[in-house]
């Protein structure tokens, strides 16, 4: 039985994020630098809520400046969470109701994988004059 190498490099993550975003054909809607920023932010958010994931194997907290074959030291069972967080951050810039809903769903998936709990969606206020 071969070792499971799913999502082991930066390229693996960004490729899978593009699949979720349905943005696999150039020219891309989400540029590589934008997705790299989103990926680095997702790692920071992961460290905030699950610092134990970065205790060993990370002398310096990982930060990536290029999409390449650099290894990402995340334990296998938590890798999917960072795909969803990266995709969610990329979608956060969109101003469409449908994307807002996906953003919330993706962030909830991220939290569910890392924390085991689903955070409530961010709800807007009552519109002026609304019943």
């Amino acid at each position: 039985m071969a070792a499971n190498t799913t999502l082991s490099t930066v390229t693996d993550y960004i490729t899978d994020v593009r699949t979720l975003l349905q943005d696999e054909i150039a020219p891309y809607r989400y540029t590589d630098p934008q997705l790299l920023t989103a990926f680095n932010l997702s790692l920071l958010e992961g460290r905030r809520i699950r610092p134990d994931l970065f205790v060993f194997g990370c002398d310096d907290f990982p930060h990536y400046t290029a999409i390449n074959a650099n290894a990402v030291p995340i334990e296998k069972q938590f890798r999917m969470a960072f795909v969803f967080a990266t995709a969610a951050h990329a979608m956060a810039r969109d101003q469409e109701d449908f994307q807002d809903s996906r953003y919330v769903t993706f962030m909830q998936t991220f939290n569910a994988i890392l924390l085991g709990t689903v955070l409530p969606p961010i709800a807007g206020g009552q519109p002026p004059g609304g019943g």
Binding site: L53, F54, F56, E75, I113, L115, G116
Partner: protein
């Protein structure tokens, strides 16, 4: 002989299936904490090291083979007679008085796990520890990790149950160590200031584990 990777893996696997969502890093970090508490409070990991006595010297440095010293359990001479000694600083034995002649003494050191850990961030421990105290250590892992405030494995209600079982295991390990893993022997002995180390006067002095 150090614990085998198979023993460590089995212990961590037992914990992992009961702690959904726990990371390997958290398990290994907590294992060090659990082992440290287990060894410090039970004093069950000891090592006997030689101390080469030289004339007119009361202070001697001792270095254990793996692990770190917690406290001094005692010093005996070649005739197994206890010698008055303390450990004012960890790693330094101070005798009550200087000896006139060179001799070889044996110091019994109580040890615990130390940093840096071994391969794969697993602390170096004797092979018998997990084989003997597997479920006690498992309770320590479960109790400490369930006692966290956040995480899918957090369960503050069940944590006290596991921690109580862990403390019970520590107590059992302490008693086993005091009885030297025997059954039916006494766990104590008279203060050594009252001991008689010869049979002068026709009085035989012995107990269940030693006769002199």
């Amino acid at each position: 002989m150090t614990a085998t990777a198979q023993d460590i893996k089995q212990l961590l696997d037992l914990a992992r299936v009961k702690l959904i969502g726990v990371s390997d890093a958290a398990l290994k970090a907590e294992l060090f904490t659990v082992l440290d508490e287990f060894f410090k409070d039970s004093s069950c990991w000891t090592e006997t090291v030689q101390v080469q006595i030289v004339a007119n010297t009361t202070l001697y440095n001792v270095v254990p083979n793996g692990g770190q010293i917690v406290r001094l359990a005692g010093v005996v001479d070649v005739n197994n007679i206890p010698q008055p000694a303390i450990m004012p600083e960890i790693g330094t034995i101070q005798f009550g008085h200087a000896y006139n002649n060179p001799a070889t003494f044996y110091a019994s050191l109580v040890k615990t796990v130390s940093l840096p850990t071994g391969k794969n961030d697993i602390p170096v421990i004797p092979d018998w520890v997990i084989q003997q105290w597997r479920f006690g250590l498992l309770d320590g892992l479960l109790g400490n990790l369930k006692n966290t405030s956040i995480g899918s494995y957090a369960d503050p209600k069940k944590a006290p149950y596991h921690l109580a079982r862990f403390r019970k295991a520590i107590g059992s390990a302490r008693v086993s160590a005091l009885r030297r893993n025997t059954i039916g022997t006494q766990a104590w002995r008279f203060p050594q200031g009252f001991q008689t180390s010869s049979q002068i006067g026709g009085v035989s002095v012995g107990n269940d584990t030693r006769f002199r």
